[in-house]
Amino acid sequence: MKYLDEFRDGALARGIAARIRQEVEPNRRYALMEFCGGHTHAICRYGIEDLLPDNVRLIHGPGCPVCVLPSGRLQAAIELVERERVVLCSYGDLLRVPGAHGDTLLKVKARGADVRMVYSISDALDIARAEPKRQVVFFAIGFETTTPPTAVAIQQAQREGLGNFSVYCNHVLTPPALRALLGIAPSPSVLPSPLAKEKSGTRVQESVDGFIGPAHVSTIIGSQPYEFVAADYRRPLVIAGFEPLDVLQAISMLIRQINASKAEVENEYTRAVGAEGNRKAQRLMAEVFTLRPTFEWRGLGWLPNSALAIRPEFAEWDAEHRFDIPAIRATDHKACACGEVLRGVKRPQDCTVFGTACTPDHPLGSCMVSAEGACAAYYHYGRFRQAAAS
């Protein structure tokens, strides 16, 4: 496959890995957070950690849209489809995520609710056109990558006067999440303290020496919005594609910056990302969406200006305007450590229910469900490491 195989080349990988081994300083510890679940997935699927020296440690970040959606918003969707008898269109990953009381969209579907898995929002538009007597609600989630298509669909619905289509908007923004992570992270680490301890003995945010920055999100927003990471928090950030060589190359670039005590935003993913991003997509987002003053993230809590709402001029296509969708405060399962995993405080295998009470078949938390979730990636691809270590 052109443009893909060359980014999965084992021989090139060995070359970069050799360079990394030469360049790491043996007495330094490199704690690097990959923001996106797409990176986590590549790291686990291709076994990238096997190619890295022991003192390069990868920490998984919160960049998984399904994972960060709080239970309350999901529970609201579950109650909406049962109460209003709408057609709820959702991406497949969301169907198995537990809302409050362990209920899922898959379970309400089995009970008779009309929940349909779609591949894109345009499928939901098609359903609304084909079934004009049904109210069709698209459960929109995602970072900046999936937001422009939602904007296009809402505009399209307006143009067509599609009165039976609406969007339950849960789109969130990447930079505020990064800022929140940095706000709780202590300063860069030095050996031998992999996990800092608070006086109380509980773990606090592990230090992060550098970030592997988002791939697809950056094609939309560009590299400029990450400058605060370097300027305000003195951490290097390298935007990287989702292919394994992209990730390995970004790790190499971060190590060089760290060794040189630099903190810059660099772009490994130049084949897709520019400084300014996709202006047209940004304009579309601005036309249709407005900032919510605050929004709840699983694991990160309530973050100001971190999510999008549909503008009042498109209220007709806003499910939160069309239907009565009450705000629901739902707590996660008390044994579930998704919050700490999303903050990088815990590794998936540190969670007491990982692989026991919580598995992809019976998930307690969202990180075990989504293809981009760190727990799912570890469970599917990396469980043997845990077994070997024990």
């Binding site: 496959m1 893909l4 999965r8 080349d9 084992g10 990988a13 060995r14 890995a17 686990c44 699927r45 291709y46 076994g47 990238i48 950690e49 096997d50 190619l51 198995r96 591949y119 394994p244 598995t359 992809p360 078949d361 293809a371 469970y379 599917h380 691809y381 990396g382 469980r383 043997f384 077994a387």
Partner: protein
């Protein structure tokens, strides 16, 4: 047969007609459907008796019996249809014991309103598949459900076969040190069905690999009678089949990703859809596990057969208390190849 046709006022309308409730009612309409459609296509001595069962002599040796239901959607897809799939599926289940399949039974659940032309197409495809395989369909059953209570047609087939002397093939026999072989490239069936369902079109359409594997198995067993295990990686793909075997045998597996054949269009479409070819269904492939010192001979025998031309040794069985199937990635790392969780592609066979 022709002598009895006068009890029907006119022939079935196999062009414009459709299934009616009376076709499953046990009366004249059902008799006509059986005679003019099923019997005409499957024609053999057993069916001609028009008994409710088939009687046949039992050869000496161990008998094998397997059953398989088919609910694939859509019913017709590039490279096959529910008809030939239902014949191949059960023949393959019987063959995975190293057995020679002898007879098939088929059971149809038809939905009221289903086109008789489509039904005829499906039945004729079954008949062709059975004839090519040399395994007659000797008995059957037909039921009709109300419109909206089925999805066109569901087919269940059951097969019996006989295991040759000296052959003992079972997943539980996989042992550490054994070689793991695969008969050809992965993923074609699942993606052919999915592409048809989602109306994805390509310059070179992906065709289902649906095929009866018993002759390949016969050639393999003739060369290496000591094969420990055979399994066809259908739903859940190679990954799930290997995990099943590992669990049954209490062993682990180590695979080499670079050795696992996947055709380029399948790889590309999997990439596009976010699927892993290791989890996509196949209907004409098998996994063979045999002692390492027989692996080369088995590979040669497989490659000499048209359905095993692209066979490869893809890994080995190891001791592993956790029963993990691990893979050395082409990138140079290691990963687990886990069970499929949930359902990747529903209604695939």
């Amino acid at each position: 047969m022709s002598g009895r046709r006068d009890i029907f006022a006119r022939r079935l309308d196999l062009v414009h007609g459709c299934v009616e409730m009376s076709h499953g009612g046990g009366g004249r309409a059902m008799a006509q459907l059986i005679e003019e459609l099923f019997l005409a296509a499957f024609d053999n001595d057993w069916l001609r008796t028009q008994d409710d069962c088939a009687q046949f002599a039992v050869p000496s040796g161990r008998l094998v019996m397997a059953t398989d239901s088919h609910v694939v959607s859509p019913l017709f897809f590039p490279g096959g249809d529910i008809g030939c799939l239902s014949v191949h599926g059960t023949i393959n289940d019987v063959a995975m014991a190293g057995a020679r399949p002898l007879y098939l039974a088929s059971s149809f659940i038809l939905e009221e309103g289903f086109s008789l032309a489509d039904l005829q197409r499906i039945v004729e495809s079954m008949a062709r598949a059975a004839q090519r395989a040399g395994v007659p369909i000797v008995t059957g059953d037909t039921k009709v459900v109300e419109r909206g209570k089925g999805d066109g047609v569901f087919i269940t087939t059951t097969g019996v076969g006989v295991v040759p002397e000296g052959v003992a093939i079972s997943a539980g026999r996989a042992q550490p040190g054994d070689a793991v072989l695969l008969s050809g490239p992965l993923g074609d069936h699942g993606l052919a069905v999915l592409a048809q369902r989602e109306h994805l079109s390509f310059d070179a359409p992906i065709q289902s690999d649906t095929a009866a594997l018993h002759e390949l198995v016969a050639a393999m067993v003739a060369t290496v009678p000591g094969i420990h295990c055979l399994r066809d990686p259908t739903r859940g793909g190679l990954a799930s089949a290997l995990n099943e075997i590992a669990r049954q045998a209490g062993v682990g597996m180590r695979l080499r990703e670079a050795a696992i054949p996947v055709r380029e269009p399948v790889r590309a479409l999997c990439e596009f859809l976010g699927l892993d070819p290791l989890y996509v269904a196949n209907e004409g492939k098998l996994i063979a596990i045999c002692p390492a010192d027989s692996a080369d001979a088995l590979l040669t025998a497989m490659r000499a057969h048209p359905l095993g031309r692209e066979a490869a040794i893809i890994g080995e069985v190891v001791t592993d208390a956790h029963g993990f199937v691990e893979m050395e990635t082409a990138f140079g790392g290691r990963r687990l190849v886990d069970w499929l969780s949930g359902e990747q592609l529903p209604r695939i066979c």
